[in-house]
């Protein structure tokens, strides 16, 4: 069996695809919309915006999140900003340039039509957010301010101090809260998706099975369409910048129910995070990429100087390696490139701080040029956060930073309509694969989440529902739901019954370490083969030796975590398999066998496609399908930021 991968890319020139397809899409009459029940899982920028907007349109919406309030979704942690092709700075930006930068930044592994649409709607996002009272940074005249982010030579990033994600999410949350208050959305906080239900007769997604995290009750919810906006899987690595609760369960369960999973090996390692300090560490903290507007990255020129205080190292004894290697983009080189460069310096023995795993991010030139107050104005909260964690004052001593897992470009495969390979099952935001190729540019995740939720799914969902009779709502007490519930319950019971000796966290840490070493910033045939041999062994031990105390009929955080780690233990294998088969380097996927002078060497002959994995059964190898990618508007070329 092979997946049918019809991207449903509209015809016509790229600039007209979205406007023409909007006209061609079928509509649901306003009076009929309320007869359609829509489930949205996740309440971040993508899910929250979708739930609010669909409710405004009149659909009957139910929204689910595992946090205690939709306001806490992980979008909230995004710091630096959101891109939009407004060209308010008159510096040469345009929809086409944002499109071009994103395709190039993604190292030619994204679908052109989707990316162009993203660039088009980016301008509407800023308008919408401003109208909802998002307190964006302003110039003295009252217009919106911008700054620059990596991989771009224009200033197109809108921001709200270092809390842009928070402010955008609070805007989404406010819109969602309005619909909850009006009775148009039923919100289920502290509720986790544990399975997706597909109607066996029609093959359509017909609902979900969830667990109430407070009472432990398992319930089924039927709908005409299910939208997953459940974020990325960076926590497979245990240590990442993701919130502790972020997990792959929703998308992985959907994969096991027939949704293709695309490019799982495309993971982003962010160059500027606070370095790891000890084995008790539970997460890594990002220092926004916006800091690279003013901070200069360097290491000592000589390995002999690494232990000296940075003040004692003269300017000509420092290696500003990003400025040296990539003169035209310098400190604003894209994330994958900046991360690998940092690793390279540390591998050469020139890293600073404990274990030699760090590089300096130095603001002394900016402070000298603009004054400490101006720097505080732009980055004050980030500097404070750095000092709280490290006990060091970055106004006086350069920050020490190191790359960390941050974002996952891979995700459920979706067509132009954001529908997965399962009809009626849609996927938005970080959870899908469509827009960022093999590397995401800074300030583009917020853009994609809101584009998908506010401006794309409201059209494409209507187009789908117009072909589904409203009376064809599955019964949540039907056999398909009962089977799924039984499966969910059995799995929880199985986790509780192991009663072994090792904690869930100890397995998660071991898996994370294995992935970081073997499928992290650099991957090789040997490292991936090694991981693929070890993961099943670890998984087998997990099911034999994990200990989960308490029961399933009450609030049990260990049980929640155990289910998520069990899914990571399966998913990790898929990631490594994907990385092994993709015998090229592109974006964040760096195969050491494929490089030219330390830069990624793509193989467009063999790998100019999305790899879409199809579940074939627990004891069978998954099937690798491909969606060929064609580049008609941005010429396939070797990326250069030199």
């Amino acid at each position: 069996m092979t997946l049918k991968l019809d991207a449903r890319t509209p015809s016509g020139p790229i600039e007209q695809k979205w406007s023409l397809s909007k006209f061609e899409m079928k509509l649901v009459n306003p009076a009929n919309k309320r007869k359609y029940k829509v489930i949205v899982v996740g309440s971040g920028l993508a899910g929250g915006a979708a739930a609010a907007t669909l409710a405004e349109l009149g659909y009957d919406v139910a929204c689910f999140c595992f946090q205690d309030s939709p306001r806490r979704a992980h979008s909230i942690a995004a710091q630096g900003g959101i891109n939009a092709a407004k060209n308010y700075q008159n510096d040469g930006d345009s929809v086409h340039r944002l499109f071009y930068d994103t395709v190039k930044g993604g190292d030619f592994r994204a679908r052109e039509s989707n990316v162009h649409r993203l660039a088009e709607v980016s301008v509407d996002i800023i308008d919408q957010c401003a109208a909802m009272g998002v307190p964006f940074a302003r110039e003295y005249g009252g217009t919106l301010a911008n700054r620059s982010f990596g991989g771009a030579q224009v200033s197109r990033t809108f921001y709200a101090r270092g809390q842009t994600g928070q402010q955008l999410l609070l805007g989404v949350y406010a819109a969602l809260a309005r619909q909850i208050g009006a009775g148009n959305v039923v919100m289920f906080p502290r509720t986790e998706l544990l399975d997706v239900v597909v109607d066996p007769a029609s093959g359509r997604a017909s609902g979900i099975v969830v667990r109430d995290l407070i009472t432990g009750t398992i319930t089924s919810h039927a709908a005409h369409a299910v939208i997953l906006a459940t974020g990325g899987y960076g926590n497979a690595f245990y240590l990442s910048t993701n919130a502790k609760g972020c997990n792959v369960t929703a998308t992985y369960r959907a994969y096991k129910r027939g949704a293709g999973f695309a490019n799982p090996c495309f993971t982003q390692i962010h160059p500027t995070c606070i370095p790891v300090s000890g084995d008790y560490q539970s997460k890594l903290t990002l220092m926004s990429e916006s800091l690279r507007n003013d901070g200069r990255v360097w290491v000592p020129r000589s390995a002999a100087d690494v232990a000296r205080h940075p003040d004692q190292i003269a300017d000509d004894a420092r290696d500003y390696y990003l400025e040296r290697k990539y003169p035209s983009f310098g400190n604003l080189s894209p994330r994958d490139i900046a991360s690998r460069a940092a690793k390279e310096q540390c591998d050469e023995g020139r890293g600073v701080g404990p274990g030699g795993r760090g590089v300096y991010l130095d603001f002394s030139d900016a402070i000298q040029r603009d004054g400490e107050d101006r720097v505080r104005d732009k980055y004050g909260n980030l500097f404070d956060m750095y000092e709280r964690i490290t006990g060091e004052n970055p106004y006086r001593v350069p920050m020490r930073i190191y790359p960390a897992v941050h974002y996952t470009m891979g995700g459920l495969w979706v067509d132009y309509q954001l529908q997965t390979t399962v009809p009626g099952l849609f996927c938005l935001g970080e959870a899908n694969f469509s827009d960022h190729g093999a590397n995401r540019l800074g300030a583009s995740a917020l853009m994609q989440g809101l584009a998908d939720g506010y401006f794309i799914i409201p059209y494409t969902l209507g187009n789908y529902l117009a072909g589904v009779p409203a009376r064809e709502l599955a019964s949540a007490t039907g056999a398909a739901f009962k089977d799924a519930e039984a499966g969910v319950t059995a799995r929880l019971d199985k986790l509780l019954a192991v009663r072994g000796k090792r904690s869930v966290d100890s397995f998660h840490k071991e898996l994370g370490h294995l992935l970081w070493e073997n499928c992290g910033m650099a991957r090789s045939r040997a490292s991936l083969t090694d991981a693929l041999a070890k993961i099943p062994v670890l998984r087998e031990e997990f099911w034999r030796n994990v200990t989960v105390l308490g029961g399933s009929d009450s609030f049990n955080q260990t049980l929640e975590k155990a289910g998520r780690v069990a899914d990571f233990l399966e998913f990790a294998e898929l990631m490594c398999q994907d990385a092994l088969v993709r015998e090229e380097s592109c974006g964040g996927h760096f195969r050491v066998e494929h490089q030219v002078d330390g830069e990624a060497k793509r193989d467009d002959e063999r790998f100019c496609h999305a790899a879409v994995w199809e579940y074939a059964g627990d004891d069978k190898a998954p099937v690798r399908n491909i969606e060929p990618l064609t580049f008609e508007n941005v010429k396939l070329a070797t990326r250069s930021y030199k």
Binding site: T53, D68, S69, R71, D127, A130, G181, M187, Y280, F555
Partner: protein
Amino acid sequence: MSAEHRTLSLKLHIWRQPDRASPGKLVTYRLAGVSTHASFLEMLDLLNEQLITNGEEPVAFDHDCREGICGMCSLMINGRPHGGKRATTTCQLHMRFFRDGDEIWIEPWRAQAFPVIKDLCVDRSAFDRVIAAGGFVTANTGSAPDANDVLVAKDDAERAMDAAACIGCGACVAACPNGSAMLFVAAKLAHLHRLPQGQPERAHRTRAMVTAMDAAGFGNCSNHYECEAACPKDISRDVIALLNRDYARAALVSRDRDDKPQGSG
């Protein structure tokens, strides 16, 4: 990381309560080998690992981003919300501020409107109900003018942002002797009322949110300002004065026209 690395032995008194209906009590645990570089929550992780090894149920506590922005973490630490360090959430509180041999009392938020779910976790859905009553600008997707058509003075945007920084953690309520949510509600009103976009619904929003706040079981404000001292985002009590002014002014505005239900598409 720069500071000298030490390990601590601690005596912890932690509130354990199986569920909302059952009574709870403080239970004492000893924990050794805590790195001064660890965060407070990582110290609790370590305790939980120890409990699991001993076959005891781990302590339930809320947390998620662990970088001070999601507002999920809470905890009364030695009687102070988030431990009492200025502008710091529990997840960003580091163990270097504690000494070897310290005794630490750890309790959930204490407020009538925030019932305990289990151990250190409380139900803060009352905050969501207050926001749903009016903490928004009515602007359906797609109906916005160009963002630069509405100019916002830089200072207004900055002051709106000061108030919008609220993470909804509930420390203000936990700190208040009356269990009042005035700082939380006032921060949202100040965020929206310092911007031009917030003006059309100003009177209705103020009334609706104050009414919802009262209905949720929060106490009244009697100007202790413990909320300001506890706020991990440094939100100023000035927003409360603005709320009081707005509330007085809203009383003068006709209720008939603008108190209709919100949110209809």
